[in-house]
Symmetry: C2
Subunit: 222 residues, 2 copies
Amino acid sequence: MDTLFLSKTDLFRGIPPEDIQSMLGCLKAATKNYQRGEFICREGETVTAMGMVLSGSVSIENDDIWGNRSILDRVGAGQIFAENYACLPGEKLMISAVVNEPTEVLFLSTDCMFTVCPHACGFHNRLIRNMLTIAARKSLSLSRRIVHTSSKSIRGRLLSYLSFQATQHGCRAFDIPFNRQQLADYLSVDRSAMSNELSKMQRDGIITVDRNHFVLLQSDHL
Amino acid sequence: MDTLFLSKTDLFRGIPPEDIQSMLGCLKAATKNYQRGEFICREGETVTAMGMVLSGSVSIENDDIWGNRSILDRVGAGQIFAENYACLPGEKLMISAVVNEPTEVLFLSTDCMFTVCPHACGFHNRLIRNMLTIAARKSLSLSRRIVHTSSKSIRGRLLSYLSFQATQHGCRAFDIPFNRQQLADYLSVDRSAMSNELSKMQRDGIITVDRNHFVLLQSDHL
DNA sequence: ACAAGTATGTTGTTATAACAACAAGGAGGA
DNA sequence: TCCTCCTTGTTGTTATAACAACATACTTGT
């Protein structure tokens, strides 16, 4: 196991590689490889371990009864997923984890996080604190998505998202990390309708758009 | 301070009242009273402590530039709020906390959760684990809201929400904890349009509705 | 029981988003 | 370079949600 890699992840941050090695046993660490399209876990199941993507990437998605797919998160190397379910034993998954490309996943049991560790390793506390930080960040990004999709118009959602991006970048001009379809999925709107609205906003002099590059022209929205 | 009350909250669960008393100093505990309509904290600010509602209730809301209000959470006695921001120092609030009724709030600093406690109290770990559980539960409820609002039609959102409620109650007949306006806000739709859709669904034989009481008539949606 | 204030259901109109279908641009591979 | 695939923008049509306005319950307090 590449403990040097692990020591650079948010989860193991601040824990020396050699200590990580000894913790992995406690965490019942196990790796598994997946092919593109495979499910790591499915809606309705329960899990006892969280996953960390070692290489490749995983989509956290929800499919409704009509087959509409909604991507809630995209998890890349070094990031964890299903940690909330692992922390709440018996909780049924409301999402599925699907592999985007050949991916290696490290499973880590949360059992020994919630019981007193028999080895009393001092770094367990650090691990739990790291988990808390990760959980807080994830919570904020979920809240952010809710905020960005709370407007009832496409324009409102776009302005909410774009003005946030502008403040994040500290600049009215910035690139976004989504293509059109992904942005539409994120904002829960139709892609072509969104494309259309972007054009209108450009005609109205609110923004300029070129592919992934955006410029906000009016300061009122910042 | 009513440590017996605190020992029954999710945050202090499993910690004896006398130990809570000694922890409160560490957590820089301070209480403050608010009147209806007062802001505890506002969008754009930063906080260094989380809040626990001792009595009364608090709404966590986001207001967009057009004045549209979106309620993200309602926090009652014994529950905490702003804990994600307290765990991420410097992070600007994307929401405001507004008091619904005369409310007493206990502020708890998270400083000593992330540094090694000088008093080395064994219950600090328990506190952090409790935080983690709370964070996991809150994350799930945010995800759930995203899932319930990801359908593009009002009917789809209602079915998503109602079928979840049915599985939660383990029964096709159940009461919901929202009135119409609150449900509409939760699902990000117009109240009257939603009311209309509920009537249509009733006419279509999918559900029966009476005030807060719902019955799902078709099993395909469970 | 009454009055005042809320909450809910209903209707019609209007705005807007979804949808489908297509055209025009890149991007990447043979 | 050409060909193909994928992404993006555009248009017109249709479905649907927002909105406004109102009537009819329900609540609550007196």
